[in-house]
Symmetry: C2
DNA sequence: CAGTTATTCTACCGAACAGTAGTTAAATGC
DNA sequence: GCATTTAACTACTGTTCGGTAGAATAACTG
């Protein structure tokens, strides 16, 4: 296994792909949390040795930050794609929450959200993680406001739609799903809230 | 400082009150989380020495469990008391969420909830904590159903009120407030959701 | 094929941490 | 007062963990 698109300089090339390693690292942190993920476990689960990990990523905290960024890139995209598929916001929001439920309670990965369930609780102790949280939320915030604006412009939402109120409840209901999933609720229980949550968000925006 | 109501047997009496110590322990775990709360810090912040702590509580995990139980006893009572004060559920639920906001984002203690923000994420690693979670949620569950039933009986809620649906949203919105608080939101921001959440819960139960 | 550069591996280090041994101190019961 | 019982304190131990030397290996460059 060789790095797909490395600049291929001098010296011995990496025997692993950085993103593949990060995907495995994500699962370790996601499952065990930051403290319980010792560097030896991380090395074993990635198939690398500890010095290789440190050489590639720096420190345990750096590795965690890299994993969070990779997680955000790869995992959060799918639910927003589901949101954009349907023209009707009621279907779009429902599909968003359905995909979101899979992301936080689906098979093949630990329950909850790496960012909200694992990273958030310890951000006070990890400066580089705290720095991430200072910039991160604004992205999805802006994305959702843009979504509501677009649906207002296309006539799928009334011009009186209260995007700010809807967004606030939209995020709250997502947070609740994450907690429910991390608490061990089965996928079905989380998915079953998708339609209810979509209706509530629209109702909060003024769509009856 | 002497234990208020100890059996006063033979031997040298405790120089501290167990509940006073637990109240200080709660603040340490609540602020730093379980792993970052080392036994030396716990000893310093309680004013005891490490052997005294171990003699009184057993292990670090036992101390954590004792702190959680004390936390539940003392902290969660206030918001339910606020709920019961007003006859009108709209006021009762609003007052509940207002008090709840103080409990999770007020001054004088760390943000978030010791149980949901600190204990829940690590319950898989701590058997005695996991055991707590197997029995804990059912209490507040039953208490809220009893509350709705009582308000239906007194005529403040319609007989058609959907208690199960209302309860589900009630808990979800509380969970969202906890996450918001732990993420660093100021008290005002959390409190500002009290009336909205109360209205949503009633609406979900069928009260327009 | 050397010479250079970067990676990988084995083995290890120092620090931090949960927990404790063993002594001293303070109360009770007789 | 004296023996007994329990708590408190000082000082320590064994382990675990994040991180790293330093040697060995594998590619590229000329």
């Amino acid at each position: 296994m060789v790095d797909k698109d490395a600049p291929r300089g001098r010296g011995r090339p990496r025997s692993f792909d950085t993103d593949d390693v990060l995907d495995k690292v994500i699962n370790v942190f996601w499952e065990l949390g930051y403290d319980a993920s010792d560097t030896e476990t991380l090395a074993r689960r990635t198939g690398l040795t500890k010095p290789s990990l440190y050489n590639a990523f720096g420190s345990k905290e750096d590795l965690f930050v890299a994993a969070i960024q990779r997680y955000k890139q790869t995992r959060s995209r799918s639910s927003f794609e589901a949101l954009m598929q349907a023209d009707d916001p009621r279907h779009g929001l429902r599909d968003y929450y359905l995909q979101f439920a899979d992301n936080i309670a689906g098979a093949g990965h630990p329950p909850g959200c790496l960012i909200m369930s694992i990273a958030l609780p310890i951000r006070n102790r990890l400066p580089k993680v705290a720095a991430l949280f200072d910039t991160m939320p604004q992205e999805s915030h802006a994305r959702m406001i843009a979504y509501f604006d677009a649906r207002i412009a296309s006539g799928h939402l009334p011009v009186t739609f209260d995007s700010a109120a809807a967004l606030s409840l939209f995020q709250d209901l997502g947070a609740a799903m994450i907690m429910q999933a991390r608490a061990g609720a089965p996928l079905d229980a989380v998915r079953s809230k998708a339609q209810r949550n979509a209706n509530l968000v629209l109702s909060e925006g003024g769509v009856r």
